[in-house]
Symmetry: C2
């Protein structure tokens, strides 16, 4: 007899935020080992803002769950003062779930929700440092175009790259 | 006898926010006739955030007052996740006070505060539409350099221009 396969719970998508989400966000973002303490704090703060103020916060969340566990999420929202521009503020996938297309699926699901809400352009910003090359490649593979680079934005030698995808 | 000259109260600068500031901000921004309703609401919200959460809000305010009346203000703050990048979120001068250098003085005072707080770069964003030409010229005269333009950002045909000034 072969050992029983590990039965993996199917993936579910959840848009509605829950009281435990700030903790889930902190856990996922921390586990990626990709963000510093201040970035982690900001990621958590956005989830708290959403819980406290609802849609008025301007932050939308999409969680991918396996069983009861959130394993990936995105945070996005319409940019105030624009007709149809939206920002992808955050996207993160737990390490154990990486490498099997969940990031692509999460981003595609996010784009579908932005499109359905009337969004025409989705912006995403990331660092131009060598260590972010795989992040930038990911966006390019997802049809984001590099529209601008702000030199020394994050710190001297660390530029901000602004990508945009037209959703229509 | 000549009629008595109108004695004008001297200008004072105030960094500390006060309970009446959301109203003052709304009044000044509305009076400029330059911002739409949503922008007016955002301007007010930043002042409310600052009053509610203090420095933790990330929003700093500088008011120019004549007598008891705020006649111009700027709103600025450090950009989280960056070492020394700051954003100028808002700057507005009452129409009756325009045309005599108060905008320049307000921006210079703001830059001095950013510099004193350790800021090395100050970003400002504005529209690329023809009706914003005087705003863009103002920033260029104040030594801001156009670093990027995001096409159709505000709406189709209405790009966002990102300017930056190095403060050191």
């Amino acid at each position: 007899m072969t050992p029983p396969e590990r039965l993996e719970a199917p993936l579910r998508w959840r848009d509605r935020t829950e009281p435990g989400d700030p903790d889930a966000v902190t856990r996922i973002v921390h586990a990626t080992d990709f963000f510093n303490d201040e970035e982690e704090a900001v990621a958590r703060e956005l989830a708290e803002e959403r819980l406290a103020r609802g849609a008025e916060s301007g932050y939308e969340f999409l969680f991918a769950e396996r069983g009861e566990r959130a394993v990936a999420y995105s945070c996005y929202g319409r940019i105030a003062g624009t007709r149809e521009s939206w920002d992808l503020y955050w996207i993160a996938v737990e390490p154990a779930e990486q490498g099997r297309g969940l990031g692509r699926e999460l981003l595609a699901q996010t784009e579908a929700r932005v499109r359905a809400a009337g969004g025409g352009r989705l912006y995403v910003e990331t660092s131009g440092r060598p260590s972010y090359a795989s992040t930038r490649d990911f966006y390019v593979r997802m049809d984001y175009a590099l529209e601008a680079t702000l030199a020394d934005f994050y710190s001297p030698g660390d530029p901000k790259c602004i990508y945009v995808k037209l959703l229509r």
